[in-house]
């Protein structure tokens, strides 16, 4: 192969990171009945996040005081935020019984995302499909069971046959409603979170690798390295924002779906 056929990045000695930055080798290989239950870095990170979230809530509310201080203050403001900005806004008073689920969801997604910008972790837990998929399925099962428990079997009738439409049109619309409610909702919920985290992790990795490469190159490129370094720091701040935003979006959409299951469309 001549130099002309090589991609530019390889010719220059720069190796751009690809999908391999999302793949981790098994630390402990476990296989039960043909199902791979191996523990790799991502699984370990998940255990840490679970412990962290549990610990924060436990320590925050272990001895609650009337006038909160310290950690209790922080945890209360998180719960308040979900209560006022998501539950009361989207579902109303009726939705307060889902406050624990939505708060846990928000905090867990947020800390899962946060790994992407925290040194030395630098990997967003939700950059792998497993967790977003499981959480989206949880939200799906939750809003279906809420629909059945509040409206009975009529929930499926209300969900699949929108009111005020002449009956022959249902042949056209009911498949669309089915796919949109029970398939597109959870799939988009999971993919939106996953794609944001993948993109963020790729951008950060490319910028950091490029910064290192440019700064250590002994020519004029080192000047661009300074620019790349500044941008890397700015991107960390941006990814921090995305981590919070995506946790918020995941939670608020789950709340919207719960609200939709609580009362039939009119």
């Amino acid at each position: 192969m001549t130099t002309a056929t090589l991609p530019l990045a390889q010719r220059a000695g720069f190796h751009a990171p690809g999908v391999e930055i999302f793949q981790w080798p098994d630390i402990v290989h476990i296989e039960v009945a043909g199902i791979d239950l191996s523990i790799n870095r991502v699984v370990l990170q998940m255990f840490v996040v679970v412990l962290l979230v549990w610990g924060l809530f436990y320590l925050g509310f272990r001895r609650p005081k009337l006038v909160p201080s310290g950690l209790q203050n922080v945890m209360e403001s998180i719960v308040d935020f979900i209560r006022n900005q998501i539950v009361l806004e989207v579902i109303g008073r009726d939705g307060l019984r889902f406050l624990p689920y939505l708060t846990t969801l928000f905090v867990f997604v947020f800390f899962g995302n946060l790994g992407g910008v925290i040194p030395p972790v630098f990997f967003p837990l939700n950059g792998r499909m497993a967790l977003p998929a499981v959480m989206a399925i949880c939200s799906l099962l939750l809003f279906i069971s809420i629909g059945i428990s509040t409206q009975g079997p009529a929930y499926f009738k209300n969900a699949l046959f929108p009111p005020g439409i002449p009956w022959p049109v249902y042949i056209l619309l009911t498949p669309i409603e089915f796919v949109s409610t029970f398939i597109v909702r959870p799939v988009t919920l999971a993919i939106r979170l996953l794609a944001n985290m993948i993109a963020g992790h790729l951008i950060l990795t490319v910028f950091f690798v490029a910064t290192g490469y440019l700064l250590t190159s002994m020519n004029i490129s080192a000047l661009f390295g300074i620019g790349a370094l500044v941008f890397s720091v700015a991107l960390i701040a941006f990814e921090l924002f995305v981590a919070g935003l995506q946790a918020y979006v995941f939670t608020i959409l789950s709340a919207v779906y719960i609200a939709g299951a609580l009362e039939p469309e009119h």
Binding site: N84, L88, E89, V90, G92, R93, D94, P162, G164, I165, V169, L172, L173, P175, I176, E177, F178, V179, S180, I183, V184, R185, T188, I252, L253, V256, A259, G260, E265, H266
Partner: protein, 74 residues
């Protein structure tokens, strides 16, 4: 029940602002997937080639109808 509390306008359907946009986008995608899928299955069953395209168009039309019916009267 819904006329008290700090929640916004009482009779809003779930989905204001950006949630409404997601819902509209979801309906469009669902229309194409549902009827495109039915067309694809019919193609496989009947050995034809064009029903996928017909299905996608039918699905888009249905999705537009649904969106207009649901959000158009606002």
């Amino acid at each position: 029940m819904s006329d008290s509390g700090p929640s916004g306008p009482p009779r809003e359907p779930p989905g204001r602002g950006s949630e409404m946009v997601w819902s509209i986008l979801g309906t469009l995608v669902a229309g194409v997937l549902a009827w495109g899928g039915i067309g694809w299955l019919l193609d496989r069953w009947l050995g034809t080639r064009y029903l996928v395209a017909v299905g996608i168009l039918v699905g888009m039309a249905g999705a537009f109808y649904l969106i207009i019916k649901r959000y158009g009267s606002g």
